[in-house]
């Protein structure tokens, strides 16, 4: 099995590494922050990150440096940084590890980002369920404050960088950046219309950058070792660096694995993850969290980078790879995901709010052997009327599993509907209900 250099998980995998400030400093921690404060201008930092080709690790994959560059430089008054630690995409559990095992790595990244965009206040929006992660982060912030890496006089420069941990309260949609901002403002977490984008009208209508935990964790390494070094890893020019892929489902060794982008799915699932957990062959896999359309064994040689997966008709998304073995009903799998989306639809846009309930009910009906002829057309029609007609990307996300299973596993739906039709009374007479 090929060995790859780890960047983000390297420290935490050393025996005895606790993630405390002392441990982090011993591995060269906060040297990058020192470097930007002594040797670099904010523009140089942004240029370095642009050069690295780092793209957002939350799901959308927007180039981080470009996002920072959108922040108006001459804006009077506060600007904000929000670190998206909501990690609510089913299939994804990497940020939890980054926060709980090496919190200073992302805090240093946040401090550097604050320096680059000129923000004095940053918030970590962490999902409410991660109580342990929030406690660890809060402690790490205190340590960094006491050591002068954060606070009112960072490294003696006179500059202020304050980081606060803000816990959510259980809403998937708050991982969407504008919903996150709404939630952080103490409101219902409903996405905003874009434009204007958060870069100009974000938190409290001020210029704001929202970046994922893994994106932030990459920043110190890019500053230390240079954008050019980073852009040589993985699958340049579009998908640079490593990625922490979260492997789950029917594999032998589920878990978080950091590998360069661009290795084929086959390698991740069979070499890194040890292959299928039983002797049953692979039936389908989800390449990038619940929002990503299903792929089949025919796609095992697709490279794991943003472009290749998009070409294959899905998306790399948040990096959550879920593997399903032969014998798993794809109708059932789509239903489980649809129940999730139905539960989590925020209710702002009618197509999504009404459509998700309709989709879930139709799938339930089919799965309970009560499907009707015409249900598959109904599903397709509903999907068509949701995707692209909502404020945020949730609309596309919720139809992905259904459209892709309909495409690759239509016969499973048809078989269930045929079963239902066959068990219905054949008489044309209207059945008389008796007490």
């Amino acid at each position: 099995m090929a060995q790859y250099e780890k960047i983000l998980l390297k420290n935490m995998e050393q025996p005895g590494y606790t993630g405390a400030l002392g441990d982090y400093e011993r591995t060269g921690g906060y040297q990058a922050l020192r470097k930007v404060f002594t040797e670099m201008s904010p523009d140089q930092v942004i240029d370095e990150v642009k050069k690295s080709g780092l793209r957002g690790r939350g799901g959308a994959g927007f180039p981080a440096g470009v996002k920072w560059g959108f922040i108006p430089k001459d804006h009077p008054g506060p600007k904000y940084l929000c670190c998206n630690a909501d990690e609510s995409e089913p299939g994804t559990f990497k940020d939890r590890q980054l926060m709980e095992r090496d919190p200073h790595q992302m805090l240093e990244g946040m401090a550097i980002t604050c320096f680059a965009i000129g923000a004095e206040t940053a918030y970590v929006y962490i999902r409410g369920e991660f109580r342990l992660g929030a406690k660890i982060l809060e402690k790490a912030v205190q340590e960094a404050n006491a050591a002068g890496y954060l606070g009112e006089n960072v490294l003696g420069s006179g500059q202020t960088i304050k980081i606060h941990v803000h816990a959510g309260a259980g809403a998937y949609i708050c991982g969407e950046e504008t919903a996150l901002l709404e939630s952080l403002e103490g409101k219902r977490g409903m996405p905003r219309f874009k434009p204007p984008f958060p870069a100009t009208h974000g938190l409290y209508q001020k210029p704001t950058v929202v970046n994922n935990v893994e994106t932030m964790a990459n920043i110190p390494h890019i500053i230390n070792r240079g954008g050019e070094w980073f852009s040589g890893i993985g699958s340049p020019p579009k998908s640079c660096g490593t990625r922490i892929f979260c492997l789950s489902g029917h594999v032998k060794r589920p878990g978080n694995y950091e590998v360069p982008m661009g290795i084929p799915f086959r390698e991740l699932i069979y070499d890194v993850g040890g292959g299928m957990r039983s002797d049953k062959p692979l039936k389908a896999f989800i390449p990038g969290g619940a929002s990503a359309p299903f792929l089949t064994p025919d796609h095992l040689d697709v490279k794991m980078d943003f472009e290749a997966v998009a070409m294959a008709g899905s998306m790399l998304g948040s990096g959550g790879v879920t593997v399903m073995e032969e014998g798993t009903s794809m109708v059932w799998a789509a239903l489980r995901l649809m129940e999730f989306f139905y539960h989590e639809s925020c209710g702002k846009c009618t197509p999504c709010r009404e459509g998700s309930s309709w989709l879930a009910q139709t799938l339930q009906r089919i799965w309970n052997r009560q499907g009707r002829e015409g249900d598959l057309d109904l599903l397709a029609e509903l999907c068509k009327n949701i995707a692209g007609r909502t404020v945020c990307a949730f609309g596309e996300a919720e139809v992905g599993p259904i459209q892709s299973t309909l495409k690759y596993f239509r016969h499973e739906y048809e078989a269930l509907i045929q079963e239902a039709e066959a068990s219905r009374p054949r008489s044309k007479e209207i059945p008389v209900m008796t007490q």
Partner: protein
């Protein structure tokens, strides 16, 4: 009331934000941790502190699934049922718990100790089936393991099987 009891903590929370309303979720979290649910009184108190109307607080509370408007059991068992956990038998985990405690999802045991909920993804997809009990995660559960967790919680109020800082898979020891 709450705000008198936790005066320092409330002030610290308020100091984090330039706009008061941002403190709403943290204050609700605080109220729920204290009382076990978000009471009407707490919502009115919080509204007053943040210069909001009670309906503004209420509309926000009802959006978020983690807030309870009614008291629940001392231990809230939340079992993840999303696809990734379901692939590794989370439905059976619900059955094991139901059988042991004699309650179904959404119900509370007669002694008020346990409430069972079936919830959506908790961000622990590689280590399912799993559940969250109050603040703690319990992962890679088997029938035997979950039995021990429930016994320990009922007897001493905590269980050593809870997850620590997350790392999975654990790196192999180098020989």
């Amino acid at each position: 009331m709450l705000l008198v009891k936790f005066k320092d903590e409330v002030e610290e929370i308020l100091s984090r934000y330039p706009v008061k309303r941002s403190a709403l979720l943290p204050l609700l979290n605080l109220a729920q941790r204290e009382e076990g649910f978000v009471s009407e009184l707490a919502m009115r108190d919080i509204a007053k502190v943040l210069d909001l109307t009670p309906p503004q607080v209420f509309e926000t509370v009802t959006f978020y699934t983690m807030f309870h408007l009614k008291p629940i059991g001392k231990f809230h068992l939340q079992v993840c049922k999303s696809l990734m956990c379901a692939l590794v038998r989370s439905d059976e985990l619900v059955t094991w718990i139901s059988k042991k405690l004699n309650i179904g999802p959404g119900q509370t045991t007669v002694d008020g100790n346990f409430t069972l909920s079936v919830v959506e993804c908790l961000g622990s997809c590689g280590t399912g089936p799993m559940m969250q009990v109050n603040d703690d995660y319990y992962e890679q559960l088997t029938e035997e393991k979950v039995g021990r967790v429930l016994d320990d919680l009922a007897r001493v109020g905590e269980c050593s099987l809870k997850s620590g800082p997350f790392m999975f898979p654990m790196p192999l020891a180098k020989s």
